[in-house]
């Protein structure tokens, strides 16, 4: 048993890796420019200082990296020249889309562009040379490292060094109106001196190339951070997303857990009653009613309940959505009552769906047991019918339905997107919808991965508990 559990748990690691790969690829390969989402709105002109910010922003979120594999080390000088020409409409008339694409490539290329840009300083076209000098300042600059993870003092020192390095070549570029020859000559001299000193860092051996190919990518960086339990920060408010997700979990779990409990509380007696009266008219009616309940879309139930009982058409018994109102200086009890008041409608909506499935399981479980030999024995012993049912049949008939609890774990998180949106409860579901609309990649990833982990754990628990309860199951 223990061996089985350990084996299963270990298997979760590669599965999780695959899940993260699939989710990551889906989200990052989808169209939509992350540099523009998450708040960096380039409303104004694409001015130089603006574009510097965009580069910093992208580097902060690793959005400058290619998604799965990195082939930038293989770029040629001709490629880079083409990009510079396209981005600045030199000698051709590219479409705005092409210009933006080229500009992005130049922003993202970073260190891989440096050697080509240095070579382009000697380009026959002075405009090209001048642009090369400009792009060099951003391509050669180093991104700051995070000071929150690892050793903060070392990180701080490293950042000082990097910033000094970046500062060392500011002012070497020739802005548009100064593109006169003396300035360009100066820039060439500066950069070529710099290049002799630093060139080794910008040339790649085949081994380095192979390493870069796999590791200098968005996914590799993401996974590296993930292994350190760093889910990144939200592009919206720059809070660590893990903390946010955990906070949202509080709402989702309160909602779903209450709903599940309520569903069990109703479903078990209903199921037992149906089983005992199996075949009777009341059993049929109950089954059909529960079945219909199961077919009600939650967004419809939610909307109707909200209108009926909250919005004053005709009743206004419950608050309209939200999780809590938090009156000033509430007592714990007052707060609980407040939350309970808000949760009545969403919990009912949510429970109505689970109810049908659970009561069917309960019913089948009890029916199976009622037919079993030991129940017949119990009856034969002359025990009273209610005792037989409650003490023997129900107790054993409930085992399968209890093992279902493990599988319910993921439902706690994901089952309530619609309900959270309809009732404006700030849980995981509405957080996901908001993050999707604002293209907050780290948050979407964190929500999807968190729910995947819960699912994995849920499946494990439910398999294990089933195995524990039912000795017939062969663990190998």
């Amino acid at each position: 048993m223990l061996q089985y559990a350990v084996k299963r748990t270990l298997w979760m690691v590669p599965t999780f890796f695959l899940i993260s790969l699939v989710v990551f690829a889906l989200i990052n390969l989808a169209p939509g420019n992350p540099g523009q989402a998450g708040g960096l709105e380039n409303v104004g002109s694409g001015a130089a200082v603006q574009s510097k910010s965009v580069i910093i922003f992208k580097r902060q979120f690793n959005l400058d990296k290619p998604v799965l594999v990195n082939t930038r080390f293989a770029m040629t000088r001709g490629d880079v020249r083409g990009l510079v020409a396209t981005a600045n409409a030199l000698g051709s008339t590219p479409t705005p889309a092409q210009r933006i694409a080229a500009k992005n490539d130049l922003e993202d290329g970073g260190q891989y562009l440096v050697r080509h840009l240095v070579a382009l300083l000697d380009d026959a076209d002075p405009a090209m040379a001048q642009l090369a000098a400009q792009y060099l300042t951003s391509a050669a600059s180093l991104a700051l490292v995070s000071e929150t993870a690892g050793d903060p003092d070392a990180a701080r020192l490293e950042n000082r060094r990097r910033e000094a390095f970046n500062q060392s070549f500011t002012g070497w570029a020739c802005p548009g109106e100064l593109a006169a020859t003396p300035c360009l000559t100066d820039a060439r001299r500066h950069w070529q001196g710099w290049w002799t000193e630093h060139h080794a860092a910008y040339e790649y051996t085949p081994a380095e190339s192979a390493w870069v190919f796999l590791t200098d990518t968005r996914f590799a960086k993401y996974w590296y951070n993930l292994v350190h339990l760093d889910f990144g920060i939200s592009a919206i408010d720059r809070e660590p997303v893990l903390a946010k997700v955990l906070r949202k979990l509080k709402y989702s779990i309160s909602l779903s857990l209450t709903a599940i409990l309520l569903a069990y509380l109703v479903a078990v007696p209903v199921g037992v009653y149906s089983a005992v009266k199996s075949g009777s008219r009341s059993d049929t009616v109950l089954t059909v009613v529960l079945f219909l309940l199961y077919s009600l879309p939650t967004f419809f139930t939610g909307t109707v309940l909200l209108r009926l009982f909250s919005q004053g058409t005709p009743f206004a018994w419950f608050p309209v959505g939200r999780f809590e109102t938090l009156p000033q200086d509430p007592t714990t009890l007052g707060w609980l009552v407040d939350v309970a008041w808000h949760l009545v409608l969403p919990v009912c909506t949510s429970a109505s769906v689970a109810l049908a499935a659970l009561s069917r399981y309960a019913r089948t479980g009890v029916i199976d047991v009622i037919r079993a030999d030991y129940i017949r024995t119990a009856r034969a012993k002359g025990l009273e019918e209610p005792v037989v049912i409650l003490k023997h049949a129900v107790r054993n008939g409930m085992i399968p339905i209890l093992t279902l609890l493990g599988g319910i774990l993921p439902v706690l998180v994901s089952g309530s997107v619609v309900i959270e949106v309809v009732f404006t409860i700030p849980g995981m579901g509405s957080f996901l919808v908001e993050s999707i609309t604002s293209r907050d990649y780290n948050s979407v990833m964190a929500v999807l991965l968190a729910s995947a982990v819960l699912t994995l754990v849920g499946i494990l628990i439910s398999d294990l508990s089933y195995a524990l309860v039912d000795p017939r199951i062969n663990l190998d």
């Binding site: 889906l26 989200i27 169209p31 994901s414």
Partner: protein
């Protein structure tokens, strides 16, 4: 179903017999069929094209002439159902007669004859549909009610006989926006002044299409994967099941919403594919389990021994026997695909160019209108219930334990 007396009952007939005994499920089957008829025949009741029209230039039938006109029916969904309405109905009637007539034939040739009839009907219809899709017709879209108003005002009213509800779901009239139910508009109008009843009825087409096609796609994928994994077992099975496991572990609604949101130009077809892409794991596991169970049974060994090819063993020997559970899960699948589509439309992640129930409900929530909430909500509820009851009946009918 006309006559199952003469020969020994086949497996299908046993199941059918079992199924008919479950009254609720049997009734649901007819209910689903009814929905399907509504979807197919809705233009007969709801259309802004007159059956008969004479504005002094001779009698014509704009209704018939525009059935496949892309200016009137822009969406592929409508073209599909209209093709069922027109060549479809025309084909089914004689075919039904031939079918009935074949009852006198003895067992084997009757089956063969009926196969030919069914094949011919489907074949001709498919050929028509493909033709229609390949050569789209567009003509100048005449708004007949408006022309009629103009002519009437000019004192020369045309002869026009309309379907009972003379609106299309795309008609708008801002002067009539957000009206309550009335004789002219049974469920009132929405903010654009469109007839809600027309939108509701044509919404049936959208829901059924999404349900049927999404399920058809994923059942195909799932069955293939499951068959391969179950038949070959070993490493193939391990790899395929690992993939299945990965997909299962990502909560499907989360995944569907994320993917849908990242597709910026989504149509109803994208939505079908997204649903299919997430849901194929269910049938894959089912079929795999059936294959695992059956691959060592005698009849398979016999087939292997007689030198049948792998493909024919998989597809002709094992698969037909494994299809029962798949059929049941497909029925439930249609119901849940309809739910998912309406959820997506409700959340604003659907296709706005088709009149989807979820979208009507979202508008109702926004406009605070009971009619716009109740009508689509109950329609979804009804459709999903019928499908679930049908699936339930099928499952029971297929379950030997419950056979009485």
């Amino acid at each position: 179903m006309t006559d199952a007396v003469a020969d020994d009952p086949t497996w299908g007939q046993i199941i059918w017999g079992q199924f008919r005994r479950r009254k609720l499920a049997y009734a649901s089957m007819w209910g689903v069929f009814g929905l399907f008829l509504i979807a197919v025949y809705s233009p007969i009741f709801i259309s802004n094209k007159p059956f008969v029209w004479n504005a002094g230039e001779g009698i014509e039938s704009p209704w018939l002439m525009t059935l496949f006109n892309r200016s009137t029916y822009e969406n592929a969904i409508d073209i599909f159902f209209n093709s069922l309405l027109f060549p479809g109905t025309a084909l089914v009637l004689p075919a039904a007669w031939l079918w009935r007539a074949s009852a006198v034939l003895p067992g084997r040739s009757r089956v063969a004859r009926r196969r030919r009839i069914a094949g011919a009907v489907v074949g001709i219809w498919l050929a028509c549909l493909l033709g229609i899709l390949a050569f789209p017709v567009q003509t100048s879209p005449v708004n007949h009610p408006r022309v009629e108003d103009r002519l009437t005002a000019a004192g020369t009213p045309p002869l026009a006989i309309y379907p009972p509800i003379p609106y299309s779901y795309a008609d708008t009239d801002v002067k009539l926006s957000s009206q309550g139910p009335s004789l002219g508009h049974w469920l009132g109008t929405d903010a654009a002044g469109s007839d809600v009843f027309a939108r509701m009825v044509f919404g049936t087409r959208v829901s059924l299409t999404v349900g049927l096609f999404a399920v058809a796609i994923y059942i195909t994928i799932g069955t293939l994967v499951g068959a391969v994994a179950g038949y070959f077992g070993g490493r193939t099975d391990a790899v395929l099941m690992r993939i299945v496991e990965v997909v299962i572990c990502i909560p499907s609604l989360f995944l569907i919403l994320s993917v849908a949101a990242f597709i910026t130009e989504r149509s109803i077809f994208h939505i079908m594919f997204i649903i299919a892409a997430v849901a194929w794991t269910g049938p894959a596991r089912l079929v795999r389990a059936e294959f695992m169970r059956m691959r060592d049974l005698d009849f398979v060994s016999a087939a292997k021994a007689s030198g049948f090819s792998r493909t024919s063993i998989i597809f002709e020997e094992i698969l037909p026997n494994a299809l029962g559970p798949v059929l049941v899960s497909a029925t439930f699948g249609v119901a849940s695909a309809i739910l998912v589509e309406s959820t997506m439309s409700f959340l604003g992640l659907g296709d706005i160019t088709v009149p989807s129930w979820g979208q009507i409900l979202a508008a109702g929530r926004n406009d605070n209108s009971w009619v716009l909430i109740l009508a689509p909500g109950l329609a979804i509820f009804l459709t999903v219930s019928l499908l679930n009851l049908l699936g339930e009946g099928l499952r029971d009918a297929l379950d030997p334990k419950l056979r009485g």
